[in-house]
């Protein structure tokens, strides 16, 4: 190992590398490309992952949405194709039966209406909601506040509108809070303006009014259009989804095997699919990157082998001058390792640089597709260590070849 710290060793390597410039460049490019790909692809995959995470960012990812459709099996005297609705009773039953599993439960009723303010108007969705909605799907408010418990209890005629609705219905520079808008000929006081999330969103531009107010105004009585449920930490969300659906089927006299009666989306499951996709992509990246790396290292071995042949004479001279086979081998292996390492470093530097550019181009701002495309240091270190090991192993072949030729054969003058 002493020879590693010997400046002469490096002098010799520097000399031979400088002499074989083309070879040096080609080999470096091979490995550089491999590790470059690895860094950039891993970084991009990471960026995508971060992007997806942000996409679901203001949603509780352990949410299940449930609504009703129509039955596909006749049951208890009912015909198939029966339509029915969720009720407030269902909500109460679920809340008491699943008090351990369910963290938040938001029943919702929705419709569309013409909304008018002064001489401006537009068709928008109107949603009857409980304040709990804000916890399931965080609303970022530009002005005012979201619905609260008081609004529910007093069936207040208040509305929280979206930024676009505000722009469409109000003149510029008019403070909307406290102003009145007309929905279905009834006046509502605007109490808040929110910015719709640019990520997953089921509501679009929507005026949120208290659930109780909605019930009274639209005469929905006991009915509920659909509900959002979030589970407590540690709950098996898929199991909870099944259980809740079974309970609901019981409450509505639906056949337990009925597949169509209730619709549901399990956000956790959907996210799992995307996460799986990203994991797959990362795996692919590793595969491609490592394959390229290995190819690059083989190229180095190959070219070293060629140059060993070209350098037989030089090696012969060195041996005549007293170079032992070991010292020749050491030098060639060290050249191999040195080249792979330099190439690896350059690859990492270029890769990071490209990631930096990608980050500046696509990774900034609200709608960024990639966020923080980076690669962990440990991964880089592992790749680097692998390079050194591979460089050593592949250098063994030309090193061996360099010493099987007898000095006399190398020196023969023709």
């Amino acid at each position: 190992m002493k020879f590693l710290f010997d400046s002469d060793t490096w002098q010799e390597i520097y000399g031979s590398i400088r002499k074989n410039k083309v070879r040096t460049a080609i080999t470096i490019i091979g490995v550089l490309w491999g590790i470059f790909l690895l860094v950039v692809l891993l970084g991009a995959a990471r960026g995508m992952e971060n992007g997806f995470n942000k996409l679901f960012g203001n949603f509780a990812t352990n949410s299940v949405f449930v609504w009703t459709q129509s039955t596909d099996t006749p049951f208890k005297g009912f015909q198939e194709g029966r339509r029915f609705k969720l009720t407030m009773n269902d909500i109460a039953v679920l809340n008491s039966e699943y008090s351990e599993e369910i963290k938040l439960l938001a029943p919702r009723n929705q419709t569309s209406n013409l909304i008018i303010h002064d001489f401006k108007s537009g068709d928008f969705r109107v949603s009857g909601d409980y304040p709990v909605l804000d916890q399931i799907q965080k609303k970022s408010l530009l002005y005012g506040r979201f619905l609260n418990e008081n609004d529910i209890l007093s069936t207040a005629k208040v509305a929280v509108i979206s930024e676009d609705m505000y722009k469409q219905l109000f003149d510029k520079d008019v403070m909307p809070i406290g102003q009145y808008i007309k929905i279905n000929s009834i006046n509502y006081k605007v109490i808040g303006v929110y910015k719709p999330s640019n990520t997953i969103d089921f509501d679009g531009d929507c005026a949120y009014i208290p659930f109780t107010t909605f019930r009274k105004v639209y005469n929905t009585a006991n009915k509920v259009d659909w509900m959002m449920i979030t589970a407590n930490e540690g709950t098996d969300i898929e199991q909870m989804e099944k259980d809740v659906l079974l309970t609901l089927k019981g409450l509505h006299k639906v056949h337990p095997e009925d597949e169509r009666a209730f619709g549901s989306v399990n956000l956790g499951k959907e996210i799992g699919k995307i996460t799986g996709f990203i994991t797959g992509m990362q795996f692919l990246t590793w595969f491609v990157g490592i394959a390229t790396l290995i190819a690059g290292v083989f190229a180095i071995g190959n070219i070293l082998l060629i140059t060993v042949k070209e350098r037989t004479k030089e090696i012969g001279i060195r041996r005549a001058l007293g170079a032992t086979p070991k010292s020749i081998r050491q030098q060639i292996i060290l050249e191999s390792v040195f080249l792979t390492t330099i190439a690896g470093m350059l690859g990492i530097i270029f890769g990071s640089f490209v990631l930096f550019i990608i980050d500046s181009a696509f990774g900034q701002g609200e709608d960024a597709a990639l966020i923080n495309p980076t690669v962990n240091i440990p991964i880089i270190l592992i790749a680097f260590a692998t390079l050194i090991v591979l460089g050593t192993l592949i250098g063994l072949i030309p090193a061996h070849m360099a010493t099987v030729v007898k000095p006399i054969e190398a020196l023969r003058e023709e």
Binding site: S7, D8, Q11, E12, G15, S16, R18, K19, K313, E314, I317, R318, R319, A320, L321, G322, A323, T324, P325, K326, S327, T403, K406, P407, I408, L411, E413
Partner: protein, 230 residues
């Protein structure tokens, strides 16, 4: 210094073998200046390579500095070459991407001498062959005679006991041949054993002993006038 008894060497050629050295007996004492002559293909280089531990013989005994050379591994051979032997080749065999100075210093590298010391010694030897001013030139910037002098400096730098030269003047014109021969004579005068191959009578005449080789055997072995003059 060099003692050879009934040395045989054959080269396999396909299924046959070419018997090149057919029983050579040769004794070269320390401080001798010997030339080997013979027509092309008579086995001169083969003999020199065996003496130089670059090749191995098939039969007979070879003693270098009293040590029987037998079943030598590459590492041992390399060390002995580095310690006892200096080589000068017809085509100089300088390393093209190293300067004259670095070429001369190379054997010292394999001796394990540090760089600073190495370059100092090498410069000293370059000075002895009057090429100090060319120390930092690459071989292709030197004339043939200069290259051969660099090669000689390189052969001497480890203070070998024996200098082996295979047609050192073969690629040189007559004036540079003389300067190279003068150098070899100098070396010999300082007590080093010098062993040259040549096919030029004038060159051989400047050594002290001429061994003639023909078809793998020694046909004559006599001292020259130069030797008798001393």
């Amino acid at each position: 210094m060099i003692k050879i008894e009934q040395l045989h060497k054959s080269y396999p050629i396909g299924k046959d073998s070419l018997h090149v050295l057919k029983g050579i007996d040769l004794h070269i004492k320390e401080g001798e200046f010997v030339s080997i002559m013979g027509s092309s293909g008579s086995g001169k280089s083969t003999l020199l390579n065996i003496v130089g531990l670059l090749d191995v013989h098939d039969e007979g005994n070879y003693y270098l500095n009293g040590q029987l050379i037998k079943d030598m591994n590459e590492k041992k051979a390399a060390q002995l070459r580095n310690k006892f032997l200096g080589f000068v080749f017809q085509s100089f065999n300088l390393i093209s991407y190293k300067t004259a100075l670095e070429n001369v210093a190379l054997p010292l590298y394999y001796k394990g001498i540090n760089r600073k010391e190495r370059l100092k010694i090498a410069l000293d030897y370059l000075d002895q062959v009057e090429l100090k001013d060319w120390a930092n030139h690459l071989p292709n910037e030197l004339s043939g005679g200069q290259k051969q002098r660099v090669a000689i400096a390189r052969a001497l730098v480890t203070k070998p006991k024996v200098v082996l030269a295979d047609e050192p003047t073969g690629a040189l014109d007559s004036t540079t041949t003389d300067s190279v021969m003068d150098l070899l004579k100098d070396i010999n005068d300082k007590g080093m054993t010098v062993f040259v191959i040549t096919h030029e009578e004038e060159v051989a005449a400047q050594t002290k002993r001429i061994v003639r080789l023909k078809d793998g055997v020694i046909i004559s072995d006599e001292l020259t006038k130069a030797a008798k003059a001393v």
